[in-house]
Amino acid sequence: MPRTVRDVVFVDGVRTPFGKAGPKGIYHETRADDMIVKAIRELLRRNPALDPAKIDEVAVAATTQIGDQGLTIGRTAGILAGLPQSVPGYSVDRMCAGALTAVTTTAGSIAFGAYDAVIAGGVEHMGRHPMGEGVDPNPRFVSEKLVDESALFMGMTAENLHDRYPSITKQRADEYAVRSQEKAAKAYANGKIQQDLVPISVRNTNSDVGETGWGLATQDEPMRPGTTLENLSGLKTPFRTHGRVTAGNAAGLNDGATASIIASEDFARENGLPVKMRLVSYSFAGVEPEVMGYGPIPATEKALAQAGLSISDIGLFEINEAFAVQVLAFLEHYGIADDDTRVNQYGGAIAFGHPLASSGVRLMTQLARQFEEQPEVRYGLTTMCVGFGMGATVIWENPHHKDAGGDK
């Protein structure tokens, strides 16, 4: 049977405000499944043209798939969100690139013709499910030296990346972090972020934490506007004595959920849905697990090659800021300045937070807003590093560009 590969588009994306994980965080008494459910419902409210019965799949990522993130959360979230029972769902795990993988996997299926429209997203409640909960690494990893012992500790892999790029100093990492906070604060001040946030009701029964009763989360909790280099310089380097990685130049431990609508371009246009980004290519790559932050570089190489593009064609970058060093390594590799205005215009995970499996769709939602504002940009990319030594990159075309859809 002859097949035609179909164009895939990013229709819309939303997310919950991100919270700080732990007993003092806004989401401490909030279930993870409720967070993704509310994100999905907001997405549907914003896109009434999408008949829920026409959704072909719900792909939800979570790194720790137990408890309220278990039970095949893609399916249970669909039911809890009130989608018709006929809409199936499944769970995805690629640690930090979970939601990104939910998008690319369903996008591949859309291109193949298996689906017309899907919901793809992710959730991670790192307060309810701390990193490493329930893991049981095979002893062969160590006995056969398959990976370095530092591979399971992300902060250590970031220190290792500093070793690989001696020119990336703690000073540069801190300067990058300060800029991320500044850009995020500015984006908030200009209302760039709030428009894609889903308000979440939050309960607190612990008077030690603050006011008790029901409240409403309407903005990201981890942000530290006004952060200065001086603030950061004194922070501890918990992963290595005299190291470079601190809580200030890395993303924190966070709770959050994201959801997006991905569809074939034809379906989106026929149903009057917005087309915010067109998928160009995507790629994943593996690297040594102990320098997992290097992952975005080979992943981007592959994605660019597939698309027949070069790095100079990319006008906007959304790079997940797991660690400042990981962004700086990427920029250094491609010869891009640390403060290049094409990179993370609204700030990044150092300011907003990084609830592991949910972050990929945040990058896309922000890139989509930047495409809207900057029609002169034709291509953008979203990229992130992934635990155990991987990178993930998706290249998007701006449908608002005058040449969009045409040959390069």
Binding site: K38, L80, P199, S201, E211, G213, L216
Partner: protein
């Protein structure tokens, strides 16, 4: 004003040290769409949803303090609005009834009413708009606190919303009577306050709360609070305008009150004051003067709290909700054996109804047997037909219908049907020889552990068991018609019944969702004995010469669900006669057999009345049959005789140990005969009318149990 309220509540709280106190948490948040800083009050008693949030004096004081805070913030302009909501699944379910029961003085009762008003009405006096978010179950004072707000939203997932006060014997007295008709019109308010309440405390769902206009917006449960707050922001921003329909303050209002009176008359026949008091306030609220309404509510509440009907109502409510769920005298439930298959001897209408009930509730195989294939087939097809009806009504889906149908079978051969049954119930002809024969046949083929249950209404369970090898496994299992509707199940312990069999019977009753009461093996058990004595005395005064209409009217002030002769018609005069004959054999000095009733039965009449005019009128053919004496009593005299007889019979039953306590008698009458809450069954009424002391020299119940405490 706040100070006096505080003192008022402090005084009330001292009377009620055991209150489960609800906290009123104030938390601030930023509304979506930049609508501003908002204060949200969460009502929460600190327990999960299995212990719903209530309002006692301490709780009201907490809410009062929360309002102090937000009032100040509103006046200072630091907040743009105030909201109020509940803990997960529960908004608030109203006044804490335990706190009402303990009140002894009119002034304390008045303080509770006024305390609630004084706190709640502050919400409507704030300098900013107020919003109630009915997130979960809301009843009574819970509903009312929201009525004092400027706007309301309701969750589509809300399972229960009601003003149950009239059902219990109160009025919605924290603003319900005055505010609700002014919000949604008198007619709809009457539906909520009177009609639903008197219709076994019918609950509204979230969607209905919206459709009635009580709530201004309806949101799905999944993100109810978020959407309520988004909506709040829109209201405050002016992007959403709340429009409520104009209400009819003219004839429509009066007609609604009249409709309410008619409903009350048909349910309580003027016998309980609550509905009428509530309607007076609704009627007076027509001019929109809510403070006048609030004052009238305070007065009505205090009067009713000090009156017998409310105490009886709370007593009855507690009987059904608590004692009905933990039957007095039942053996340890761990002794119960599992029941994985049920046998039914007989395939007549009663047997088929029992088969259907066991099938639906236990979902295990049910086998019917009878003396010929035709009867067996008829029984099975009756059950299949009823399942089809459930399917048509959407009460079961096709898969469930298939499952239930496959579970019911009929066989002629008892050995084939019952060899692996755990519980076998007979519903054959009411004749001791027949029943003994049936049980002997069943015992021969049934497993050694199987319980043999009888649905007899008048025969001795011990006698029925006496000829068996294992009489210890026979239990009386007396249902009330219609078995699907009346909750009561009298579980009869025979002389030799063992604890395991009894525990199994109680276990089955619980799964059948019946209210089980343990009863001694005494003639006609509880309900039929009392009803027969009651009817017998009515029949006696008629036979002696009192006109039928006078005798019937004499007991109207009790507010029973139907008159004695209408009840007789429902039961069937022949069955009524049969039971009176049975009891006459046991207690010839108290239970008579009416010659007139006999004549009516022999003439083949199915009742005393004809309904040609639409109303019951004495059938002329029956009138012609009646041979009456010349002793004509007044209504008062008839009522005294009937109540004396009932009090005497209950006194004797308690002396005989037919049930553990008078409470069990009342529970039986409420759940098996539909006797009203405002009578508390009957013994609270007999106590407060002085009948118990007149007849038995003492009251049935301790002071305070269904009366104002000493």
């Amino acid at each position: 004003m706040s100070t006096t309220t505080t003192e008022l509540l402090k005084g009330a709280a001292e009377l009620f040290p055991d209150e489960v106190v609800t906290q009123a948490h104030v938390r601030h948040l930023d509304l979506p769409a930049g609508a501003g800083r908002f204060a949200l009050i969460t009502l929460d008693n600190g327990f999960d949803h299995t212990k719903p949030t209530t309002f006692g004096p301490g709780s009201l004081a907490n809410l009062n303090a929360a309002i102090d805070q937000v009032e100040k913030e509103a006046a200072e302009g630091t907040i743009v609005g105030v909201g109020i909501t509940g803990k997960p699944f529960i908004f608030a379910v109203g006044a804490d009834l335990k706190g009402v029961e303990i009140l002894k003085r009119h002034e304390d009762a008045l303080a509770i009413g006024k305390g609630g008003h004084d706190v709640f009405k502050r919400l409507s006096g704030l300098a900013v708009p107020t919003f109630a978010y009915y997130n979960g179950a809301a009843m009574g004072g819970g509903v009312e606190v929201g009525l004092h707000c400027s706007y309301r939203t309701v969750s589509q997932a809300l399972p229960a919303f009601s003003l149950p006060e009239v059902f219990l014997g109160l009025v919605p007295g924290w603003g319900g009577c005055a505010l609700l008709p002014n919000l949604i019109g008198a007619d709809r308010a009457v539906s909520v306050i009177i009609e639903n309440s008197l219709n076994q405390n019918k609950q509204l769902k979230g969607k209905q709360v919206f459709e009635l206009g009580i709530a201004d917006a309806l949101f799905e449960g999944a993100d109810f609070l978020e959407q309520s707050l988004v909506w709040t922001a829109s209201v405050l921003n002016g992007t959403v305008k709340v429009e409520r329909p104009e209400i009819d303050r003219g004839e429509g209002w009066d007609a609604a009150v009249a409709r309410g009176r008619a409903i009350a008359d048909s349910k309580v026949h003027g016998a309980a004051p609550a509905a009428y008091r509530a309607l007076e306030i609704v009627a007076a609220a027509k001019d929109g003067d809510v403070q006048k309404g609030f004052d009238a509510e305070d007065k009505a509440l205090a009067d009713l709290i000090m009156g017998g009907e409310l105490r009886s109502g709370i007593y009855a409510f507690n009987l059904v909700q608590k004692r009905g769920k933990r039957p007095a005298g039942a053996p340890d439930k761990n002794l119960a054996r599992p029941v994985t298959k049920v046998g039914v001897v007989g395939a007549g209408l009663m047997a088929s109804q029992l088969a259907l009930l066991f099938l639906r509730r236990l979902e295990v195989p049910v086998v019917l047997t009878d003396i010929d294939q035709e009867r067996v087939d008829k029984g099975v097809s009756y059950v299949h037909g009823e399942i089809d009806k459930l399917l048509l009504k959407g009460r079961v889906n096709q898969d469930k219908a298939n499952r239930l149908k496959a579970l019911v079978t009929g066989v002629l051969d008892k050995a084939e049907g019952f060899s692996d049954a755990d519980f076998i119930i007979e519903a054959v002809f009411e004749e001791i020889g027949v029943k003994q024969q049936v049980f002997a046949e069943v015992e021969a083929v049934a497993p050694a552990h199987a319980i043999l249950a009888t649905n007899t209404s008048s025969l001795s369970v011990s006698e029925m068991a006496s000829k068996l090898k294992h009489p210890e496994r026979v239990v009386g299992f007396h249902f009330f018609n219609p078995v699907a509707i009346l909750p009561l199940l009298e579980i009869v312990r025979g002389e030799q019944t063992d604890d395991t069999s009894l525990a199994t019977a109680f276990g089955v009753a619980k799964k059948l969702k019946k209210t089980a009461v343990l009863v001694k093996d005494a003639p006609a058990f509880v309900v039929n004995r009392i009803l027969t004595r009651f009817m017998g005395e009515i029949q006696n005064v008629i036979d002696e010469g009192t006109p039928v209409a006078v005798a019937e009217k004499a007991v109207e002030p009790l507010g029973l669900p139907m008159s004695p002769l209408v009840l007789l018609e429902l039961v069937g005069p022949a069955i009524g006669l049969h039971v009176s004959e049975t009891l006459n054999r046991s207690f010839p000095d108290r239970f008579t057999v009416s010659p007139n009733l006999k004549a009516v039965v022999e003439a083949g009449k199915r009742g005393f009345y004809v309904y040609d005019s639409g109303k019951p009128e004495l059938d002329p053919e029956v009138a012609a049959l009646l041979k009456q004496g010349d002793s004509v009593l007044t209504e008062e005299q008839v009522r005294a005789r009937v109540l004396d007889a009932v009090a005497q019979e209950i006194g004797l039953m308690l002396d005989e140990g037919v049930v553990a306590e008078a409470q069990d008698i009342d529970l039986c009458l409420i759940t098996g005969a539909g006797w009203p809450f405002h009578l508390g069954g009957i013994t609270p009424y007999l106590d407060r009318e002085g009948v118990s002391e007149r007849v038995n020299g003492k009251k049935f119940l301790a002071q305070g149990l269904a009366s104002v405490p000493a």
